[in-house]
């Protein structure tokens, strides 16, 4: 993961010509709008690519008006009208549930409710809805990628041999002997999961709480929550919007510059 400059900052650079009240600032407005649309398309592409990813959570683009939040004092109504375009403010993780699909494997777990499993990777605690678990050579419960699944006390779970049954509250038992209980947490309202790839999410410890309302379904896996109809409709909207902005840029570039450069001197 790498970090680039925040959108507002980048857009701030786009706004520079506007402060000079340059007529061509509409060109930069369309340019920033086009940039936002291309980022929105990237988000949609990521959703569509993950349509079959176990327990995937789609990302929704959020647009906002640049002027409303940037705090620039624009007194000129024309300049305001030209520059009031939308930029992509951020992405919101869609936390709605996906369908549960039956697999019949005793170590495939799905969560009904808002809960997430807690896992440990490189000394960091992350959270996942993907319950495609397995047993490591050391006998501990791990994710498909081999990261430890944590129990209620935040420690790895040693799995017993034999037929494993996992109750809706996360208690793991084999032949009646209890081996541990899965840690299931949910994000408190206002706290957002940050996607870390591999179906993992991170979140601040203060933003999490136990999830007593979530129940675990053994032998099932949750499918992706991406709605393909919505994704395709969004994509068409982005495409048309981008076309419109490209048209706008052409108009600014060809017509206005042409008038300024060729026609005005002759008046």
């Amino acid at each position: 993961m790498w970090q680039t400059q925040p959108v507002v900052e980048m857009a701030g650079r786009v706004l520079l010509p506007m402060r000079r009240k340059n007529l061509g600032s509409g060109y930069y407005a369309a340019c920033a709008g086009l940039r936002a649309q291309s980022q929105a398309l990237e988000l949609i592409a990521s959703n569509v690519a993950n349509i079959s990813t176990t327990a995937f959570r789609g990302q929704q683009p959020m647009f906002h008006s640049l002027l409303a939040s940037a705090g620039h004092q624009l007194t000129d109504p024309l300049n305001h009208a030209i520059n009031d375009f939308g930029v992509l403010e951020g992405s919101r993780t869609d936390l709605s549930a996906g369908n549960l699909e039956r697999t019949g494997n005793s170590l495939d777990l799905a969560i009904e409710g808002k809960g997430f499993f807690a896992i440990q990777t490189h000394g960091e605690t992350l959270y996942t809805r993907n319950g495609n678990f397995q047993v490591s050579p050391k006998g501990q419960l791990t994710t498909a990628a081999g990261d430890l699944v944590l129990g209620e006390q935040g420690l790895p779970i040693s799995m017993p041999s034999g037929d494993i049954s996992i109750s809706p509250d996360g208690t793991i038992s084999a032949s009646g002997a209890v081996a541990g209980k899965l840690k299931v947490v949910e994000f408190v309202p206002g706290s957002v999961p940050v996607a870390a790839g591999n179906s993992y999410y991170s979140g601040p410890a203060a933003g999490l709480r136990p999830a007593p309302d979530s129940s675990i379904r053994q032998g099932m896996l949750e499918s992706s929550n991406v709605n393909s109809v919505k994704a395709v409709v969004d994509m068409i909207a982005v495409q048309r919007h981008a076309e419109m902005l490209e048209r706008a840029m052409t108009v600014f570039e060809s017509n206005l510059d042409h008038i300024a450069a060729n026609d005005l001197p002759k008046v």
Binding site: E42, A45, A49, I51, T53, S91, G104, M235, A242
Partner: protein, 263 residues
Amino acid sequence: MLRALYTAASGMSAQETNLDNVANNLANSSTTGFRKRRVQFEDMIYQNVVMPGAAATQQTTFAAGLQIGLGTRTATSEVVQLQGDFSATGNPLDLTIQGNGFFQVTLPSGETAYTRSGAFQVDANGNVVTADGNPLTPAITIPTGAASITIGLDGTVSVTTAGQTAAQQVGTIQLALFPNPGGLNSTGNNLFLATTASGDPVQGTPGGSEGLGTIEQGYLEQSNVDVVEEFVQMIAAQRSYEANSRVVEAADQMLQGLNQLGR
């Protein structure tokens, strides 16, 4: 170049893998004791354009941030352990397991392999072997001149020979149970090998409390591939592939529009 192009390409290649798996499942829809596989996908890393919680100003932070995912990749394909249908054959050495256990057989290399396909036969030496000639473990030998073979729910094999009224016990079939059968290694010929993912098997006599299951004589377990479900999966894979290719098209058109600016 738009990330969307590469993201969509990863989605298309994932759906190709999905279709490959559906094809193998469908091809084995009549294979005795076959266990279908299910492909699992994972999302790739995210590019944090705006980190959630980053400072927007000195006083405020971004509530959501802007995270752009870079696509999908195939993570695992696990063996699905749903029970297949039983079909009656009447053959005394056709066995099914009503439960989660596996038959154990010894390969020519001496390794133990596991199978759900209970179509056994007797070889020239009287050993109970699979259709490929791999002997059942622990070995069970049927004496020559056996008139009938009876296998109990608990795996007890008894035979009666011509001229004798009392049945003679010749051995007990043992089954193996895995903590994570989804992680077994399919080697073809209906055989599985244990892996670190599947865990070490627990061996036991059928009918116990471990969940091994009981043995039913005269039945064969059919493939657990549900043809309807596979067709649905195939259509879903095809349409997802199309949706991803539409994204490529959309990205291409946007770039094309850009390239034509100022002409």
